[in-house]
Point group: C2
Chain length 147, copies 2
DNA sequence: TAAAATTAAATTGTGTACAACTTAATTATA
DNA sequence: TATAATTAAGTTGTACACAATTTAATTTTA
């Protein structure tokens, strides 16, 4: 077996599929004026409002170099606002505006629409999800059952 | 089930795992002075030398906006050189230099090293590869058995 | 065969990613 | 408790990724 052939790589299909998924999100997220990473930040805040940048970064595996401009964009769009944590002025606390919270309703059908555009039925969806979550745990990206 | 929870997304673990894999390639590729996308271009050329930019793009699912500067970087590093196809002057033909070809030897152990840093045994490696390749075909990224 | 359509690269602009560094606030420790 | 170490954001620089546009070469077609 030719280890250096593209067809024998594990990681190339990962890279290609991941980019393709992001591409298929694009038209679904466009009406919400969100990119995929911006959508991920909104998911975190819809789940728990008022979170520090650090915490968002931990959940999404993104650092401040990526998150600072991304959150600033969401603020300029009116979806988020920021404040400092009075207990620790280093921390930036990010929270939803009314508009940001309202956006959640519009986003509700996105997971379902995505499964549709990926052409996956429920069984396939959950099989892939389980496998990816297992690998995610194996790689140390997910350290507990709640994340 | 809360469809908008991060933990219930299929695509987030994909995104996170894909980024993590790229991160784990970094120290393996650093001695070769290659980034992961640059390594992919080298893989294509090690497999078949003298390929047009268009063809590289088709195999890697990348467009000229990404590939033009990337190939220029590899040229400035002395790994590649470019010429025009005399039969069709629109086409840029990319080929390996002696140095670029020599690099292949140094790269030979990378797939093995990667499986190691990912902590996957042979069975797991092939199981994930099969699943990813299936999904890749399902998404229309791979249209025949040779790619 | 001249004009229109298509194609391959290159270019421009926006938005991630992330390493490395800076700044300011907090915590640990001598 | 003053100093050192740590921490959270922000900044800078490099490198993708891709949409949209431009330019030049080739192919179609009227």
């Amino acid at each position: 077996m030719e280890a250096l052939h593209l067809s024998n790589q594990l990681c190339f299909p990962f890279y290609a599929v991941s980019k393709e998924i992001t591409k298929r999100y694009r038209p679904l997220l466009e009406p919400l004026h969100l990119t995929y990473p911006q959508y991920l930040v909104m998911l975190v805040l819809w789940e728990t409002d008022q979170v520090s940048l650090k915490t968002i970064g931990k959940r999404l595996h993104l650092d401040s170099g990526t998150l600072t401009p991304l959150v600033n964009k969401l603020i300029s769009q009116g979806y988020l606002e920021k404040a400092r944590n009075p207990q620790d002025e280093r921390q930036l606390v990010v929270q939803l505006t009314g508009e940001g919270r309202a956006l959640q309703k519009q986003a509700e059908s996105i997971p379902e629409q995505l499964a549709e555009v990926l052409g996956l039925n429920e069984n396939e969806y959950f099989a892939y999800q389980r496998m990816l979550t297992d690998l995610s745990i194996k790689l140390g990206l997910t350290d507990d059952a709640t994340c």
